[in-house]
Amino acid sequence: MRDEYLLAALRLGAGSDPVPARVSAAARAAFALHLPGGIAAPPVEVPAPSGARSGAPGTDTGPDEGRDEGGDRDGGGPDELRLRRFTAAGLTIDVEITVTGGRLEVAGQVSPPPGPDARVEVRTPHIAKVRALTGGGHFAVAGLPAGWVSVVCHRPGEPPVFTRWAHVGA
């Protein structure tokens, strides 16, 4: 038995530290985020890791041995930029998230480009923003709250493909 399970059982038994109302409300609201028939895109490793800040999604930037010297790798501080790649159903969704002033800017690319009628929906538990894609499959959304993020690609006549939820701290 793990210590944390024992401790959790003790607290439950004592009725101490109850679930805050906002946590319950968020849990109840989460069901509305279900996409029936949707295809979950799991994350895959990106060949060129996020240290190469100048690299665009999908660009092979190669090793960047000097990247630790800039002092900006603070593991989650302001202006953090990381590339995440998700694939499913023949689609690759690259997502780059920048944290500025506690808000998220989400930019990315769907490849191969899914065509002019496709839409991308960038979702957080509380807000979703829909964007058309450029001819090259790029999209960008700004001003999202920090926390859980998922990107959905909607294509006419196809089931939606969604990235699994990822957490981005402020």
């Binding site: 038995m1 793990r2 210590d3 944390e4 399970y5 024992l6 401790l7 959790a8 059982a9 003790l10 607290r11 439950l12 038994g13 004592a14 009725g15 101490s16 530290d17 109850p18 679930v19 805050p20 906002r22 946590v23 319950s24 968020a26 849990a27 109840r28 989460a30 069901f31 509305a32 985020l33 279900h34 029936p36 028939g37 949707g38 979950a40 799991p42 994350p43 895959v44 490793e45 990106v46 996020s50 603070d74 593991g75 989650g76 990381r82 590339l83 995440r84 790649r85 538990p125 926390g147 859980w148 998922s150 969604f162 699994r164 939820w165 990822a166 957490h167 701290g169």
Partner: protein, 196 residues
């Protein structure tokens, strides 16, 4: 330590953990029933890992989102409760690592779908009350120390040391010793139940 998983808790969880719903036919009402049934256990596990209220909220929400994104692939609705508790634990551990400044790879942020941990069955209010009765059998300082540890989630070792008149450096080792004694009592219960 799964050997000391008390069968008393298994019994309770078997009832509680079968919500009589299939994930494939969930509606909002059934979902809210799931929330009411399991959110307390999920919250308690996240907090027991030392997360702040804000981080624990993120961990619990993450577990619900994992369920939402996995609804079409869950095959074993009877184990949703254990799955939710296990998934909350995974998300909480990851958030705690991030909070400590450890770098987590993007794929490490989004784990494979959790395998329900049978040991999660002990995260249960009835079993918790059973454990409290065993805590009361311990002498001092164990009884008071475990009470402070359990009932004051944000208490620091220094505060516990003042309350119990112990050197700060001995709070951690004393707690470990008391938890061991508590586990031994619980293991005796399991042995007694198995023998009967």
């Amino acid at each position: 330590m799964t050997g000391c998983l008390p069968s008393i808790a298994n019994g309770h969880m078997t009832d509680d953990i079968s919500p009589d719903i299939s994930p494939h036919h969930l509606d909002q009402d059934a979902w809210e029933d799931l929330v009411a049934r399991f959110e307390g256990r999920m919250w308690a596990v996240a907090r027991a890992l030392g997360l702040s209220s804000s981080d624990a909220a993120d961990a619990v929400q993450g577990a619900w989102l994992r369920l939402v994104e996995s609804l079409d692939s869950i095959r074993d609705p009877d184990r949703i409760g254990a799955w939710l508790v296990t998934t909350t634990r995974h998300e909480a551990v990851r958030l705690a690592r991030r909070a400590r400044g450890e770098v987590v790879s993007p794929s490490g942020e989004v784990p494979e779908t959790a395998v329900p941990d049978p040991a999660a069955a002990v995260v249960d209010a009835d079993f918790g009350r059973h454990v409290w009765r065993r805590v009361d059998l311990l002498g001092e300082p164990c009884r008071s120390l475990l009470r402070l540890w359990a009932l004051h989630p944000d208490a620091r070792y220094a505060q516990i040391a003042v309350r119990l008149d112990l050197p700060v450096g001995s709070v951690g080792p004393t707690r470990a010793r008391c938890v061991s004694r508590l586990r031994a009592l619980l293991a005796e219960d399991t042995g007694a139940e198995e023998a009967s």
